[in-house]
């Protein structure tokens, strides 16, 4: 029993059994494919179909109702396979090239010497591969080798034809079922011949194979080398990003910025004192967390990326994860930027608390200046700009020891000499700055013509690393004689009055015409002068 199918050829209806139908369909498809390049393809096929209809009718004369495979095969035999139509002539070739628009450029590894670039180009341009190779050689010679670079570029850019579809596209043949079927049919017909010819073919291809073998080896070698280099780079990135992450994690633990580790003491002593941050109304732990996050997220992504680079089979990072981390990073950066702008917008101003002491020495009295250090706090009592958290004199509380004491000399037209003692500090507004300056504990001692300054001040330990200090401005009228102790050396900011000596200490000086004249050392100079004579 067989299923029958009704078909309509040239407006005639026929009953075909299933196998006959398939055979006929294949035959007509093959003709269609064969005539694909023919101008009047449709018309020819109509004529052929009309003839087939006639032949069918001839076979229906008796009581026969259904056309079977035998009939179809007989008709195909009469009509002939499309290959037997003998259409190959010049016309045919010209139509062939006209249809080459659909061709795609692939590397033809099968016909290659090196990479198949030339063979692919030859297919594409519809010329023999020999000419393409010759053109390469000539161009390379004429450009002293520069064309090799273009060749390599093409090698990289043009994909290799791997699938049958790509191979058909490479040669400009339409990719349809009947074409592939045709190929298979041709393959069947020629199978026995093929096997006979294999050996001959092998020998003729021998030389070509050696060269292309070498180049495919080279191609593989370069790819492997590239992969190895990539892995090495991956290892380096992995190590550096890993170390960075570890560093950030450790500092997070150390500072307690994340708030999880709670040690406010530690962060107060270090990052907590970043000028401006705490004062901009932002809690320090938030700022530090944001800073660490902003640093950690790119490192984390780079770390994962390098892992992926090293292990190809690693599962890819999920999109939500990337989106989340990047969003967090953007938020951190935005927060840091806003905080930064906020705190930099606020101006620092200084606040001072001033004492002015007028000195009324008797005429001709010399003013003696001296610093007083305190060895309880430091072993370098006469060094300026030292800061330390120390115990106070009662060894009870921690205080800040600071030796930021500046001494400056000025000339005054007033009758009396005076000293301006200014304790100063910086803050966002004057009142706060003055308040802070008021916390500076500074002492000095003036007894007649003996003036003794402390070389340091004491203040609250929380002001470490903040700018604050004590300025001592000494205003002197003309003809004042002074003598400074050498322990003042480090604290004097303006030496320009003392032009005569490198170190104007332990000598008597008289202020005359904007200059200190050394009174006591004149004699010495004379002596030296005498000796020289």
């Amino acid at each position: 029993m067989n299923k029958t199918i009704d078909i309509n050829i040239a407006s005639q209806i026929f009953h075909l059994d299933e196998n006959a139908y398939i055979a006929l369909k294949n035959y007509l498809d093959a003709i269609k494919a064969y005539l694909a390049k023919e101008e009047s393809q449709e018309e020819i096929i109509q004529d052929i179909e009309a003839r087939i209809a006639e032949l069918f009718i001839e076979r229906m004369i008796s009581d026969k109702q259904v056309i079977n495979t035998e009939d179809v095969n007989e008709i195909i035999k009469i009509m002939g396979q499309p290959e037997e139509y003998d259409l190959s002539d010049e016309d045919d070739k010209s139509t062939k090239t006209r249809h080459n628009i659909h061709k795609k450029l692939f590397r033809d590894k099968k016909n290659s010497y090196i990479s198949g670039v030339s063979a692919g180009l030859a297919h594409y341009m519809g010329i023999d591969v020999v000419w393409v190779r010759l053109i390469w050689v000539i161009l390379t010679l004429f450009t002293t080798g520069w064309f090799i670079l273009i060749y390599i570029l093409l090698w990289i850019l043009i994909p290799e034809a791997r699938t049958t579809a790509e191979k058909l596209a490479m040669k400009g043949e339409p990719i349809n079922l009947s074409n592939i079927e045709k190929k298979i049919k041709e393959g069947y017909d020629n199978v026995s011949e093929k096997i006979k010819d294999v050996d001959v073919k092998k020998h003729s291809k021998g030389a070509q194979n050696n060269i292309s073998d070498f180049f495919s080896w080279l191609e593989g070698f370069i790819i492997t080398l590239g992969k190895v280099l990539l892995k090495i780079v991956g290892v380096f990135i992995l190590i550096f990003s890993g170390l960075g992450l570890l560093g950030i994690l450790l500092s997070a633990l150390g500072i307690g910025g994340l708030g999880l580790f709670g040690s406010t003491e530690l962060y107060n002593s270090t990052l907590g004192n970043i000028d401006g941050i705490a004062l901009a109304g932002v809690p320090s732990w938030l700022f530090i967390t944001a800073a660490l996050t902003a640093g950690a997220i790119p490192l984390l992504l780079i770390f994962i990326f390098s892992l992926k680079l090293l292990f190809n089979n690693l599962k890819s990072i999920s999109k939500p994860f990337i989106i989340t981390t990047v969003s967090i990073w953007v938020i951190s950066i935005a927060f840091l930027t806003i905080t930064g702008i906020n705190s930099s917008m606020r101006d620092f101003t200084s606040g001072e608390i001033v004492d002015t002491i007028t000195l009324k020495p008797k005429d001709q009295d010399t003013l003696f200046f001296k610093m007083k250090g305190n060895l309880n706090y430091t072993v370098f009592p006469f060094k300026q700009n030292r800061e330390d958290i120390v115990y106070d004199e009662n060894n009870k509380n921690l205080v800040l020891y600071d030796s930021n004491v500046d001494v400056k000399f000025y000339r005054t037209t007033d009758r009396d000499a005076y000293i301006r003692i200014a304790k100063w500090a910086y803050d966002y507004d004057v009142d706060q700055a003055r308040e802070k300056a008021g916390l500076i504990d500074y002492e000095y001692n003036i007894k007649n013509n003996q003036i003794v300054f402390d070389s340091y001040f004491i203040t609250s330990k929380e002001f470490k690393d903040r700018s604050m200090g004590v300025d001592l401005d000494i205003y002197l009228p003309e003809n004042t004689v002074i003598k400074m102790d050498e322990n003042m050396e480090d604290f004097i900011e303006n030496y320009f009055y003392f032009s005569e000596l490198d170190k104007p200490f332990n000598e008597y000086f008289n202020l005359k015409d904007d200059k200190f004249e050394c009174v006591s050392c004149l004699k010495k100079n004379d002596t030296i002068g005498n000796l020289n004579e």
């Binding site: 050829i9 040239a10 407006s11 005639q12 003709i31 005539l35 023919e38 101008e39 009047s40 018309e43 020819i44 004529d47 052929i48 009309a50 003839r51 209809a53 006639e54 009718i57 035999k77 009469i78 009509m79 002939g80 396979q81 499309p82 037997e84 139509y85 003998d86 259409l87 190959s88 002539d89 099968k110 049958t164 191979k167 592939i180 190929k183 298979i184 041709e186 393959g187 069947y188 020629n190 199978v191 011949e193 093929k194 010819d197 294999v198 073919k201």
Partner: protein
């Protein structure tokens, strides 16, 4: 499926070049045969119009064609070259038939072909008989 694909690949690798060479020889033969066939078709249509089956009967009888399919592209080309024209005629119990007819151009072309064919025949005969004698 994979076996078939493999066969295609094998075919491509081994036979493309050989096929090209054979095609060149085949091409010449085909050209000759095609020219003669065209001449014969025009000759058949010289005295009376005919439809494909009738033309085929004569050609087959003269053993000029083996498969019928060959004729359809040829007829279409001759028609496109305006050497032939056709009219439709109904047939009893079959599809309508294309009756082919020579155009004036076709008649002229056929006459030219005939004379050159005769000349060619004489030339070929002269050479072949001369060579056969010696």
């Amino acid at each position: 499926m994979y076996v078939s694909l493999f066969k295609i690949l094998l075919y491509e690798v081994l036979f493309d070049e050989i096929k090209n060479e054979i095609m060149n020889i085949e091409n010449t033969k085909a050209q000759m045969r095609k020219g003669i066939l065209e001449y014969c078709i025009l000759s058949i249509l010289k005295n009376n119009d005919a439809y494909v089956a009738e033309i085929l009967v004569e050609l087959k009888a003269a053993k000029l064609i083996v498969v019928e399919g060959t004729i359809y592209p040829l007829l279409t080309r001759l028609k496109n070259a305006e050497l032939l024209e056709y009219r439709w005629e109904e047939s009893t119990g079959g599809p309508p038939r294309k009756y082919y007819k020579l155009t004036d151009e076709g008649t002229k072309f056929l006459n030219e072909l005939s004379s050159s064919w005769k000349e060619l025949q004489v030339s070929v005969k002269t050479i072949t008989t001369k060579n056969n004698q010696s």
